[in-house]
Amino acid sequence: MSAPAIEIDNLVVRFGRFTAVDGLSLTVNEGELFGFLGPNGAGKTTTIKVLIGSLRPTSGEIRVAGFKIPTEFDRVKQQFGYVPDTENHVEEFTGRENLELFARLYDMPPSIVDESLAKLELSEAADVLVSAYSKGMRRKLLIAREIMHRPKILYFDEPTANLDAHSTEVVRELLRDLASQGTTIFLTTHNMEEVEQICDRVAILCRGQLVECDTPTNFVTRHAVRIVKAQFEQQGEVVRESLDLDLDDQRERLAEIIRTEKCVRVHSQEFDFQDVFLKITGQAYT
């Protein structure tokens, strides 16, 4: 088994009386594509802020690439990249100038700039001022900047926000490539389809506490509910019913509907990762 890239042990973050993160413990392995999910206000961004050293935890121990955070922050910061949910470019610079600045800071060869721009399909807009970029282009430039120095760990906050369908695919493919090359990717997103497609493992956080941590397939298998939706005529009116096939009385009810009523439509409901997420976080439709 590969060594852990991120180790969080009993992390607590409080803002006055409000507890944003409450006893979070988890381990992310090297080269893993790890999804960190939760509803709004669950404590995801707070956790990432602690991991990148921007916020001091109230208690708990964090190790990133073997270094303690925040005490060894200066030693670990070269090992990771951070793509925040808001773009932070120098607006007066062109895309190329922005990347050149960071290439120099990371002591990378100048050729890396063109490589990174090409990876994110930004070569044509390289010499345009960032202030003239669209939101999607800014996002891609940010990703290009953060992968340029080939970090061991990449924190992503909403990696494909504001991207069109094609760019979304480009970024997802890039993430898979990076993970296959050994980069650990820790991402937060609200796009459950993305989680199901690319994440190796997922942790779901709710009200600052870790609810579950597993692979997306295991989540769906464990939490899937076999629901059948029946639509039938009863005394001249169309009636709809959702029936859980795991419950005896509801199975019998379905049999009765089929036997006695005039069925208009009967179909099974797909249960995907989004349903699992909503069920776990207590936000499922009733």
């Binding site: 050293g53 932070n88 007066e92 100038e97």
Partner: protein
């Protein structure tokens, strides 16, 4: 450990940002243009207003009332200045001097206040004897008459309290005066341009480059998140802060050198002048860093910088009126900047004799500590 490679990269970033920020460059250019205009403007001519036999033209002679220390009666005079003649109540240190003699406009007269021995009044209060040494242009002593006509009645209240004034033995004879003065053909416009305006422009340049521009750039960096991006890069927080300081200090020094070179090139070699410029610039950068890191947005940071400047002005004004504020004034490093800069503009000042330079060192040192702590704690978070 500070790495020069990082400083160079970060400095390059700041200069490129400045180059793409035309408004900042425009303001620096305008300040230099003001200095150039003041330097090339012609002195005000006195030729058309010669004193005649009648009192009206005599009243046009300006009088410099020169003192060593402030007193209540001097404050009283300040508050009751007449429309004519024009009277300037100035500290001895602020009188332009050249080759050991006062350099006043050719048609101005001067009255120097010299404090004599203390004596006891009938009420037991201690008062000093005040000697008034007058001097005037030409040979007609009456040119000072309008001044005395205002001076004595205005001080009636102080006469009754026992304050004793004495005019010097030959107060109206310039040759017999104790005051080592020479009357030269120098206009007031010249004096103001070369010394006072130069000092004021230096202060404006330093405030603009080290406080306003730093606040604006740093708060913008924080608001956009670019500062966080830099801190997460291999550049250390201390390197980022140092690069910012060097950048703004270079702008400040560049501006100050141009202004001094245009207005008063003779003082370019004065070490005290540059020491004070350096200390004030560093102090203002520290204040600017604190403002930029504590403000939530760039707009609020810019307003806070303005409040700092205006608040300082109010404090300085209040300190002249109420003794309670005097102590607060002593805690501001800017309090020592103006007098030293102005003094260096007039004559060479020894580093060891510059008043308040040591205190300034201490105050700026304290500000460095505060700014560093602010930037480390809140700078990018």
């Amino acid at each position: 450990m500070i790495r020069s490679r990082m400083i160079k990269i970060l400095l390059d970033r700041e200069f490129r940002r400045l180059r793409k920020n035309p408004s900042a460059l425009m303001l620096l250019g305008l300040l230099s243009a003001v200095a150039l205009l003041m330097a090339t403007s012609r002195p005000v001519s006195n030729n058309g207003d010669q004193p005649g036999a009648n009192g009206a033209s005599q009243a046009a002679v300006d009088v410099w009332l020169i003192y060593d220390q402030r007193s209540r009666w001097l404050d009283h005079l300040t508050e009751n200045l007449p429309d004519t003649p024009t009277i300037r109540i100035v500290h001895r240190d602020r009188v332009p001097i050249e080759n050991g003699t006062w350099k006043l406009p050719s048609r101005d007269a001067a009255v120097e206040i010299v404090y004599g021995d203390e004596f006891e009044t009938s009420q037991g209060s201690a008062f000093g004897k005040v000697v008034l040494n007058g001097r005037y242009p030409g040979k007609d002593a009456k040119v000072l008459a309008p001044f005395w006509n205002w001076f004595w009645p205005t001080l009636t209240e102080y006469h009754t309290q026992g304050l004793r004034f004495e005019q010097s033995s030959e107060p109206f004879n310039a040759q017999a005066s104790d005051v080592p003065a020479s009357l030269e053909d120098t206009s007031v416009a010249d004096l103001v341009t070369n010394e006072l305006i130069a000092t004021m422009l230096l202060l404006i340049v330093m405030f603009f480059a080290c406080c306003h521009l730093l606040v604006s750039f740093t708060a913008q960096d924080r608001e956009r998140g670019t500062l966080a991006a830099l801190v997460l890069s291999p550049a250390q927080t201390s390197e980022i802060l140092l690069a910012k300081f060097i950048f703004h200090l270079l702008i400040s020094l560049g501006g100050c050198v141009s202004i001094v070179a245009i207005l008063k090139p003779i003082v370019l070699t004065q070490p005290v002048l540059w020491l004070v410029v350096l200390l004030t610039s560093i102090g203002l950068m520290c204040v600017g860093t604190c403002i930029a890191t504590l403000a939530k947005t760039q707009a609020s940071a810019a307003l806070l910088a303005l409040c700092y400047m205006l608040g300082g002005t109010v404090l300085f004004y209040l300190s002249t009126k109420f003794t309670a504020f005097h102590f607060l004034k002593q805690l501001a490093f800017e309090n020592y900047t103006f007098p030293i800069l102005f003094a260096t503009m007039k004559r060479p000042v020894n580093v060891f004799n510059a008043p308040g330079l040591g205190t300034m060192f201490l105050l700026v040192g304290a500000w460095i500590g505060i700014a560093r702590s602010c930037f480390y704690r809140y700078g990018w978070r």
